[in-house]
Symmetry: C2
Subunit: 302 residues, 2 copies
């Protein structure tokens, strides 16, 4: 069964890992968000792709929830001591990836090509595709001003309320394989990621939304909310302010015409929604939880 | 007493530290070789400037002889695991410097400016200047072919004999302050560095050789050989092949018209030489040795 999952970072990465565990090798394609990508110290950092890659490769830190397990911070401490940019937490092991990828991108290798190569090096059998090889950046509009995503999310600790999310994009083209992966899938999955800043930018790449709209397979989304609250991050506040509420119906509203079913947590009172609601335990505490949730999603497609 | 020292990496860095210890704060200017500089993983690495900076800041590893004390290698191990370029040994702490400098250079800051800023961050009161802010690269011509300096030195472990050293240079200009530092010095010192690949490139920057030639102060060189052998590295083989011998006279021959005295080790039989020879113990095992040698050099100027 060919499954294509559109995913942001941490929560999405957990489900991606669950899907990989639940499927046969090679059946999973993950399309990752790149609109949070950021240049740090001249290095290209792709937080969502990295979270997904680390999760698929089993290198992620489950407790911290981001970055690599067994991480250390000596290079960043040295950067700090030399007066360098140190607001973005880059671990020693993590930096190895950024150095290799930035070096390759600097020589003109497309992001999708480097990503495939890195996944191969890590022994990952699933396919990981960036939504696009082109530049795509999220700008967050807040009462305090406009910020790049990472500036708002990391440097300002997403304290500002969000009035709108805008995308800086110059006709990006879907990365090679993305449209085909959506068209050929037996099941399309929207990971439990932020609809505004994680899945929104993927769907904003011309051609991707249309490919999902005209799908022949079912598309199942997993709600990123539990009891109307974000597991982590600012999504509940964003939904409340921009969509007027945090019920399953509000989540469905973010994906109008794109999904056939929404998987929600038992804590979320089933409400009227224009798509099928599937109730289960959606909190992924560990890898087993991710697999169990993935199996529920796969069953929902039947 | 204002002292200006022209220096390559490790051995030169030790003498530079000795001079700093022997002089009053702010009296020392070191002009460092940049023709060994190399791009590794897209980062700008300047091995000689770095060795000098680490020595002046007291951050160098005395036992290993290069790089930083208390170094670790986790980022490079990660680079290796991702299939990245790992022939050049970059430690975690060392990488912090390369990241900060590369980032600054990428934004257009001149090398001399970044170097001064880094020295300040490390609390170094001596002045450290690159010979030039422009591109200058050493090519080593060997029976096995032509190699960039680091390719020959690190990747090929300087196993090939050297027939000639060529410089790739496009009219480099001395970095701001270099000519003035030579003209205003009360003593010019040539560190015990390789005349072909360390001091040669500094002197090849148009204007620098002329400034030393027309000096009003004395210029004292410290021989990099002990008993006709290099303390470390390939210099003895290079001198033998390219100059016909490794006596003090052969070293003096590399600096014709530029030096007034050569400090040599007791192990080197005094020979006829066209400049004054000063005999002392030139092996620098530790910081005290470096200071003692520096004091001998300073006395030689009197």
């Amino acid at each position: 069964m060919k499954v294509t999952c559109l995913s942001g970072g941490v929560g999405g990465a957990k489900l991606a890992r669950g899907l990989q565990d639940a499927l046969a090798p090679g059946e999973l394609t993950v399309v990752g968000n790149v609109a949070d990508d950021v240049e740090v110290l001249g290095l290209y950092v792709s937080p969502d792709l990295d979270s997904i890659l680390y999760a698929l490769a089993g290198l992620n830190d489950e407790e911290r929830g981001w970055g690599r397990a067994d991480e250390s911070w000596r290079t960043l401490e040295s950067v700090s001591a030399w007066g360098g940019e140190d607001w973005f937490r880059l671990g020693d092991l993590d930096l190895g990836l950024h150095l290799v990828r930035s070096h390759a991108l600097g020589r003109g290798e497309p992001l999708s090509h480097v990503t495939a190569r890195l996944a191969r090096e890590a022994g990952v059998e699933s396919r990981l595709l960036p939504a696009t090889d082109d530049r795509l950046r999220t700008t967050v509009v807040t009462p305090a001003g406009r910020f790049s995503f990472q500036e708002w999310f990391v440097a300002r600790r997403h304290a500002d309320e969000v009035d709108a999310v805008e995308l800086e994009l110059d006709r990006p083209v879907p990365a090679p394989g993305v449209i085909e992966a959506i068209e050929d899938a037996d099941l399309i999955v929207f990971a439990p990621s932020n609809p505004y800043v994680s899945l929104g930018p993927i769907l904003a790449v011309p051609g991707i939304r249309a490919a999902v709209s005209s799908r022949r397979a079912r598309c199942v989304a997993v709600s990123p909310l539990i009891g109307g609250r974000a597991v982590k991050g600012p999504l509940d506040r964003m939904l409340l302010r921009m969509a007027g509420g945090t019920s399953p119906a509000h989540v469905v509203g973010c994906y109008e015409g794109l999904i056939d079913a929404l998987v929600i947590d038992g804590a979320d009172a089933p409400a009227d929604a224009p798509v099928a609601l599937i109730v289960t335990d959606t909190l992924m505490r560990d890898r087993d939880d991710g697999r169990r949730l993935a199996e529920t999603v796969i069953e929902a497609a039947a």
